[in-house]
Symmetry: C2
Subunit: 419 residues, 2 copies
């Protein structure tokens, strides 16, 4: 079981989470619980580290690599507090519980402080404690490097911690959060959005990376790799007077094979976190685009969609690509700096764009998915500026003003409404 920052927000919410944990234990289950820091706490801790400053460049002159190891010491304390408080609350209810810090289990990570990746979680220690009837409470987001220092996984890392612990214990993972599952699209955009009973890892991965914020992408990758069934469900539930939870609903993220009712399209996502950069009048020598993308890759700028078209001037092309909005300024600067070498005429950056995508494993076996998409958009007068596809998704870049309209049109075109 995993509870997020809202579900750990204060002592009353911690008590509610504890009642849900108690109900699972009373139902005869062995339980490990992964917790986030109290909502807002991590931001406070990060602000303190910002105030304390970052390692001075002088250290590099002494041969000392700058590292976020001390940042991790400060920031990891938030989950340590909620883990202790939840264990105390469970004991106060008469349950046998104890907390396990990342370094005690251990949750082994690499030493990329502030954005560490989990390398290994041995299940023996937790498993032995749970076999004795203990509920194990584990702070999310934190681990320990092989050199024995506390690490953190980066924002949203608690989902990943939960999946890693479930994988170590070879059990399913229930993610309790402030939404009650994964929807066919954002219900704030399309009120007819429908909660999915099940969704495959591959689809969830596309949806997470395309803007559905239910789960952190890395947690879905890990669940897929380790075949951990993950259920997303609401933490706003209460056991009945007999301490029994309502039947589990939410959304199960699982193997494609376990989904009986096959759909062609499972969901529609939208992201405004995009920017479009166009190089007008780029030399049409074949090396020019390669040169552009090599420079971007070397600066760690991820490029998503690419479109090349004939320019007005002879012997020149227009090259359009999209990046995350955060990277746009840096990408533009890289291009401007290389203008003499690349030889383009004009650079345009447009952040007034959105990416709308349809996702579904059924695309693999069904033709006509793209036609349905393009017809639905054309019917509403929505023009698209670029396209990218994978085996199970199609994304289009459109004018941001049309984003919600496009989402609703596609949701209807694929018959995703609540029935």
């Amino acid at each position: 079981m995993k509870f997020g920052g809202t579900s750990m927000g204060d002592l009353e919410r911690i008590r509610r989470a504890a009642r849900i944990v108690a109900a699972e234990a009373a139902a005869g289950k062995q339980v490990a619980v992964v917790v986030s820091a109290m909502a807002g706490k991590t931001n406070e801790l990060v602000a303190w580290t910002d105030g304390a400053g970052r390692p001075s460049p002088k250290l590099a002159e002494q041969g000392i690599e700058p590292s976020d190891d001390e940042y991790d010491i400060v920031v990891a304390s938030g989950e340590q507090v909620t883990a202790g408080l939840l264990a105390l609350t469970l004991r106060n209810m008469g349950l046998n519980a104890r907390s396990w810090m990342g370094w005690q289990i251990p949750i082994l990570t690499d030493d990329a402080h502030g954005r560490a990746r989990i390398e290994d979680v041995p299940g023996e220690v937790l498993g032995a404690a749970m076999d004795k009837g203990e509920i194990a409470v584990v702070p999310g987001f934190q681990g320990v490097s092989r050199s024995g220092r506390i690490t953190t996984l980066g924002r949203g890392g608690s989902d990943t911690s939960a999946v890693a612990v479930a994988a170590a214990l070879e059990c399913p993972c229930d993610i309790y959060t402030d939404v009650d599952g994964v929807y066919t699209t954002d219900p704030r955009i399309e009120s007819k959005a429908r909660r999915l009973e099940k969704i495959s890892y591959e689809e969830m991965l596309e949806m997470a990376s395309l803007g559905a914020k239910v789960l952190q992408t890395r947690s879905v990758e890990l669940a897929m790799a380790k075949r951990v069934p993950v259920r997303v469900l609401s933490s706003f539930i209460e056991p009945d007077e007999n301490g029994v939870l309502p039947a589990k609903s939410g959304t199960l993220i699982c193997d494609e094979e376990e989904i009986v009712e096959k759909r062609i399209v499972s969901g529609v996502t939208m992201s405004r976190d995009e920017a479009r950069i166009t190089l007008l009048g780029l030399s049409d020598r074949v090396e020019a685009p390669a040169d552009v993308f090599t420079r971007l890759a070397e600066a760690n700028v991820n490029v998503d969609m690419i479109v090349q078209s004939q320019a007005r001037s002879e012997g020149a092309v227009n090259l359009t690509f999209t990046t995350g909005r955060r990277d746009a300024a840096r990408a533009a600067e890289l291009m401007r700096a290389a203008q003499p070498q690349l030889g383009f005429e004009e650079l345009r950056v447009d952040e007034d764009v959105a990416k709308v995508s349809v996702v579904g494993v059924g695309m693999r076996s069904h033709a006509g998915v793209a036609q349905t998409m393009f017809r639905a958009l054309a019917d509403k007068g929505v023009k698209f500026q670029a396209i990218s596809t994978s085996e199970i998704k199609i994304s289009v870049l459109i004018d941001a003003a049309y984003a919600e309209l496009a989402v609703r049109a596609l949701h209807a075109a694929y018959g995703l409404e609540e029935v």
Copy 2:
């Protein structure tokens, strides 16, 4: 070096502490720094654990001992945060620093969670890091039990942590605090109080346990046992424009042999944390007092002064003893519950008392110390209700209303004024 909660109260104060640390490092010293949590933080964390409740008695029925291990997980986080922030601040100034959690050094304690005692601090790991030129930053108050769980030392434990780390590193210990040393008496009571240049461990131990709040008693015990020179000095100092600190003043707590200028009395202390309990008309059979004090000892009530006097009624005595004020209600309840067995007529509890003490190693070799005390008190019309002595102190219990008057009278009688 050790900095308390006020000196770690916010980022600006942490920066000031960092400048003092930097000045010591610039002077060529290898430095380890022990830090308290931000002032007020420990209280907040303790309040959260109170809200989460204490282990339910139901656990005991399952054979599970109640323990404050989860309390420690929550409360130890306060020092973890300041240790990380101070290390970051030092790095931001271009200094090579890193934090070491209690479990990383390790600061080994027993498993009495919430009030653990340090058993061992191996100096190898910290020493090796400091030999490489690193400033070691260590959270005070926390340790790790032999079973690998985080422990805390109880309130004021950071002083003890600092002395233990100094002992492990075989170096002196500078305690930076919000007073500039140890005084002959509390300057708020007697403005003529004088800062002591040096004071012996034995005297400091008596002063700390008699109410002088500069250092936690256990830290002085440890310093005495390990012969760690401890200097108490003000954290309200700044290095000059060359990064050099003013010459160290404060008070050095050290071996008696190192104190050249011998005084008969070093200080006068006063404590209101006392209660007087009197059993009137207790049976004069010889076992009766033993029975009283056995019952108190079994309930962990410490008794300080004891006076027995003849009662008015035949075959009965009046037995007076003092306890800490916190224990008074419990002690009275114990006595009332045992009234049939003990057979006393009446119980009186008086919390309107104070204990005034004079402390000095010179008492060992000088007669007349007590006479001076009694004469000074008599001259001011202060009656005493009980007396206790050790080799180097004399304490009297008096009416609380006379406490300050008595302190000033004794301070003058032993010639302790600033000259």
